[in-house]
């Protein structure tokens, strides 16, 4: 993609975000606020995970520290607030930076699995300590606060909160992008690629690691602060490991190697979580399945999809690629339909409601369950034939798609003119052979 197309896509995205309060209902606007916060948190996390290659398992800690710092700043000075409301995320950023610097100093002493374990331990430490420090974290009830009017805004409506969160998210994501163009940002990638080589180039690798960790924690703190501004309260559940896990899943589903990948992944997953939580109780299961599928079949994440498609289009041309794309989309839809149908049926059959229904109708062995406003009998094979048929047709489409793909590959390898294209598509691994004198 050229610089110009990228810029116009980003500009269109920003315009859409600015217009959102006009386009969306109150409920959806609230969801959009959560999506923005999740997107910022994922972008901050990805500095560490995707760019520096350090997998932290405890990033909820820095999000939570930012959140609690902000809620206390809001309540400071007799409830007037330490700073005007729009500037409060600075407090989250500051505390995130300091706490991230201290935690990062310990964590980046080690790499790989040991690094991950230290981050996990630090997060668990905070998580288990928080309920006991009632003065600081407010116990079960948490700490609540009020957004104070500032600069002519009362921050009473969702729209004003949305614009406040949007402003901070755009600013921070923008800064994080600019960060990748700085010397420190480039060294962050060097850290991921080969930290040993950096050491022998004369860099202080531990210092670098601490700096990157602290920067990531600082922006995570801003995300936590924005959540507090949106909720007007903070509870120690923000330290829950589930938050640390979801930011990892969001990043990888979105794609850690593309700058906006994690933000898109987080926004998408948050939206699904919002939309699905009303429709199904199995959302977490779907989230997990989606993550496994993305990791298995699209290791580059959803953001890697346009790149892959573009490469295939250059190789085969749109006309020959279209059937393959349609087949794949068809297969994916049928398989997911079959999958969700089966999961939803099973979920209903194993639910408490169903057990109650069985007791209420002792005459019927398998009372009907309602799905898609229709009654289905769990005892009848016809019911299970629906997901089975969807699966069978989906798998058949997969088989056809694979055949078509193979045919395209074989048709392509014949003429010599395309050798350069295939060389650029596949990473050439140079075998390291050593001859001994």
């Amino acid at each position: 993609m050229t610089m110009k197309t990228t810029l116009s896509i980003v500009a269109a995205g920003v315009a859409l975000l600015l217009a959102a309060p006009v386009l969306l209902s109150q409920g959806l606007l609230n969801a959009a606020v959560q999506m923005l916060i999740a997107a910022l948190f994922a972008s901050a996390y990805n500095v560490l995970c995707g760019q520096a290659g350090m997998l932290s398992f405890g990033h909820a800690a820095y999000f939570g520290v930012g959140a609690f710092a902000t809620v206390h700043a809001m309540n400071a000075v007799g409830g007037a607030g330490l700073l005007p409301t729009p500037l409060l995320p600075l407090v989250g950023a500051g505390l995130g930076l300091v706490f991230g610097g201290v935690a990062g100093w310990f964590a980046t002493k080690r790499t790989g699995t040991y690094f991950a374990m230290i981050t996990l331990a630090i997060a668990e430490l905070v998580h288990s300590l928080a309920p006991h420090l009632k003065g600081l974290f407010g116990g079960e009830a948490g700490v609540s606060s009020m957004r104070m009017p500032a600069w002519g805004f009362d921050f009473g409506s969702t729209t004003q909160v949305y614009y406040l969160v949007l402003g901070w998210t755009l600013l921070c994501v923008g800064l994080l992008y600019l960060y990748t163009r700085t010397p420190l940002g480039r060294l962050t990638c060097g850290l991921r690629e080969n930290s040993q080589r950096l050491r022998f180039l004369g860099y202080d690798v531990h210092g670098l690691g601490v700096a990157v960790f602290a920067i990531s924690a600082m922006f995570s703190g801003v995300a936590g602060a924005l959540q507090v501004l949106s909720n007007e309260s903070a509870n120690y559940v923000v330290f829950d490991p589930a938050l640390s896990a979801s930011v990892i899943l969001n990043c990888f589903i979105g794609g850690v190697s593309v700058f906006l990948g994690p933000a898109l992944g987080a926004a998408l997953m948050t939206f699904f979580g919002y939309a699905m939580s009303d429709l199904t109780r199995s959302w977490l299961l779907y989230q997990g399945i989606l993550f496994v599928l993305v990791m298995l079949f699209m290791p580059a994440g959803l953001a890697g999809l346009p790149g892959t498609l573009g490469r295939l289009r250059r190789r085969f041309g749109l006309a020959r690629l279209l059937p393959l794309v349609l087949l794949s989309v068809g297969a994916a839809s049928l398989l997911s339909l079959g999958g969700t149908f089966a999961v939803e049926l099973l979920q209903r059959v194993f639910s408490q409601d169903y057990r109650a229904a069985v007791q209420m109708n002792p005459g019927v062995a398998w009372p009907d369950v309602t799905l898609l406003s229709r009654a289905w009998s769990p005892g009848s094979p016809a019911t299970w034939a629906v997901p089975a048929a969807l699966f069978a047709v989906g798998l058949a489409l997969v088989w056809f798609a694979r055949r078509l793909h193979r045919a395209l590959e074989e048709g392509e390898s014949a003429p010599p003119s395309v050798a350069s294209a295939s060389a650029s598509a596949t990473v050439v691994n140079v075998p390291v052979t050593r001859s001994l004198a």
Binding site: T182, R197, I215, A437
Partner: protein, 251 residues
Amino acid sequence: MTEPVLRIRGLRKSFGPTEIMRGVDLDLVNAERHALIGPNGAGKSTLFHLLSGHLAPSAGEIVFDGRSIGGRTPQAINRLGLARSFQITNVFPKLSVFENIRLAVMRVHGLQYSFWKFIDNDRVIRRETERLLELVRLTARAATLAGEMAYSEQRSLEIAMTLASDPRLILLDEPMAGMATEETHYTAQLIREVTKGRTLMIVEHDMDVVFSLSDRISVLVYGQVIATGTPDEIRNDARVKEAYLGEEAHA
């Protein structure tokens, strides 16, 4: 003889009960090309690791440029002007060639924690990076990912990165390993050109390269230097023949 650039005295290194370096004495004079040869397991790579700070010596002293460097960290040693390459290619595989060299150049200009300026706008860094690219003849490959280049090109890249810190002493660990004859000649010529005016210490198994490239050769056998001298002296040294070249002839 003038004051040596590098003076090694009684250097020992053991891993548990296993002694790898058993008292090495060696001097490197300014601007010489010094080859280190010896059979497998003689401790050549270990010696490089000790000199570059990868390992800390068990005993003995290493004096570089008048300062004792034994046991210092790799980055401290690098900043004193000693740079090394690795036996196994050690670059940043998923970054471009340009980026690889630029990371090496940035360090010399003290850009470690800079987050307030854009690296693309730094003309000094860019010019220096381009100069090094040209020096190792990789200008055409600037945008290629380092990991996708041919092996010999990756070795050239390593040499450029090693040179970036403008070191007084360069350690090259088997720069020609795994190369075809042509590539070997090319790389030997490259090394000759780019290390002019610097002190070079090289470990290499290719005897043609060793004897044509070096001013002096040291022979390391079982953790001790058994001989040091000009290529001719080494060729005619009875102990060397017995311990090393003799074995080679039968191999």
